[in-house]
Symmetry: C2
Subunit: 323 residues, 2 copies
């Protein structure tokens, strides 16, 4: 993985950075942004770390998470250089109205085109083959000559963990494990990260999971589960608590796709798709105006749940699930 | 990790090896034995691979698992040199009556003493700090000068995976990840191994899990779940399918102990306890005539379920759960 020299020059020469990442941030977005902020500040730069949404409770073990702010009302974007992380169009970060001095994009997702312009960013470093943006930021920080502190390492390890299922998905390469090894040497406790990521659920969240699993239907190798709005009230859990819910039905051998629906409005659902092997759910999600990776993708749909399920099953059967 | 030179000489000079591992074998025992057998055979040696028990169905994805035999009636042990893997006394392998020419022990468990003699083995290589016996066998094979084939790599990767929770337990070191990286370069697909280890549940087993989770009660930081006999009928699942069920409630932050009850007879239950941190459930299990490790223990109890729960909660409260 080669860091573009112009990105290094940009970060070394400029002094004020606005680091933004996508809405509904997960550990790759959060950890990458915090780590880069820490690295740049150690070089004497000023950084603002922004996400439209607040840091989910269960990611607040990340050292430096309090750097995140979700308001920009007190600052002038044009005084800052943008670093857009883990997404590649402004809209994904909810900052489409803002104009910055100069902009760099660092992302491992495939390029999205905004409607009014072409690809976004004065400097674009997009590596769809990279397992995580955190992996790219690791190389970037090393190329900047900044030592990987324990706090930076924890953020990057969490970032890489969440996007590789802690080294279980097929984006887990030899290089991913070698970077993991370096981060452990920088002070990360793998058991602490895994505990923080996977074993700190609230009782309410666990109850919501059980409720979601009780909705399980299996149709033609597709496992369908959902969380309707009233379930939040019944359990006391929050919408952000559904993170990782789509992965549970994947435990079953005969499941090719796990589809999880989450009610986000009246007749308005967010669908999360998880697949195994070569079944490409990003292509399915794109049919519905969404996107993502080969084995993890999502989209929104405005319809009642039954129709939403039916249209997905139809799309999947036309896509011939035969991984 | 340094392989004893006398072990290398022994393996190079002798020609006939009986590789044995512990009863109720899991992936570290199985994978280490198969990998070592393959390596020795590539050097022109003869090997017998033995376990008293047969290879569990869900480990039959390991290439070469059919090397395992569980009978010794047609061979003369004294014509063979023993390699005892992943345990360090003959009794753990169920071969305490057998006499071999010469013996080597390769294990990462603490030394057990047999009652009639001291530590067993002419050559003893015990590394309690090693995450897995598979890690030791990896270094051994390299020191023997044998190339790590894809088949050897898959066995060793599975061995290391199972004993580190696929890089999640606190025995996951930088070295463990570096060895993982080398094994990936030798041809392992991490996603295939994780899928084989964790994602091959039957629909019936998953349905039983949901049913068990629906029985969840949380009392004083103790999560209690159970599977009653009629649930097997309802789901079509088997008693062996409850493996790993006690671990799910551990996902909750405020849970100190997860207690899972499985009905094994009329008013007869098997309790499995899982704890986090410093809460020692082996001591609790011992009160009921059972045993185990600090964070994973079990016992049987003859009573109705409600009384069984009450007596456990009483024992736990007297033990003062304050990890």
């Amino acid at each position: 993985m080669k860091v573009p020299p112009e990105l290094i020059s940009f970060l070394k020469e400029e002094n004020r950075f606005f680091i933004a990442t996508h809405i509904n941030p997960e550990a790759d977005a959060l950890g990458s942004a915090i780590a880069l902020s820490m690295a740049l500040e150690s070089l004497g730069k000023e950084t603002i770390v922004y996400d439209r949404d607040s840091v989910p409770e269960f990611y607040r073990f990340l050292p430096g998470y309090e750097r995140f702010r979700n308001s920009t009302s007190d600052l002038q974007p044009s005084h800052f250089n943008l670093i857009l992380l883990d997404c590649n169009i402004l809209k994904r970060a909810g900052i489409e109205g803002m104009r910055f001095n100069y902009s760099a994009v660092i992302d491992h997702h495939k390029t999205e085109k905004s409607t009014t312009q072409g690809s976004f960013g004065d400097i674009r470093w997009i590596e769809p083959e990279a397992a995580a943006t955190g992996l790219m930021v690791f190389h970037l920080i090393k190329d900047l000559g900044v030592p990987i502190t324990k706090e930076i390492a924890i953020n990057l390890y969490a970032a890489i963990s969440i996007d590789t299922g802690t080294f279980r998905y097929n984006n887990t390469t030899a290089e991913v494990l070698r970077v993991g090894a370096e981060l452990i040497e920088a002070g990360v406790s793998p058991a602490y990260i895994s505990h923080s990521l996977y074993e700190t659920w609230s009782k309410e969240r666990f109850t919501l999971l059980i409720m979601a699993l009780n909705t399980l239907e299996i149709i033609d190798g597709v496992a369908i589960t959902y969380v309707a709005k009233e379930m939040y009230k019944k359990t006391g859990a929050n919408p952000e608590d559904t993170e990782n819910f789509p992965n549970f039905p994947r435990m079953m051998n005969d499941i090719k796709v796990s589809a999880f629906y989450k009610e986000i409005g009246n007749n308005h659902w967010k669908a999360s798709l998880r697949s195994k092997g070569t079944m490409n759910v990003a292509k399915i999600a794109e049919l519905f105006g969404g996107g993502g990776h080969e084995n993890a993708a999502g989209f929104e749909i405005k319809s009642d749940l039954e129709s939403a399920k039916k249209s997905l099953l139809k799309a999947l059967s036309q896509g011939k699930i035969d991984s």
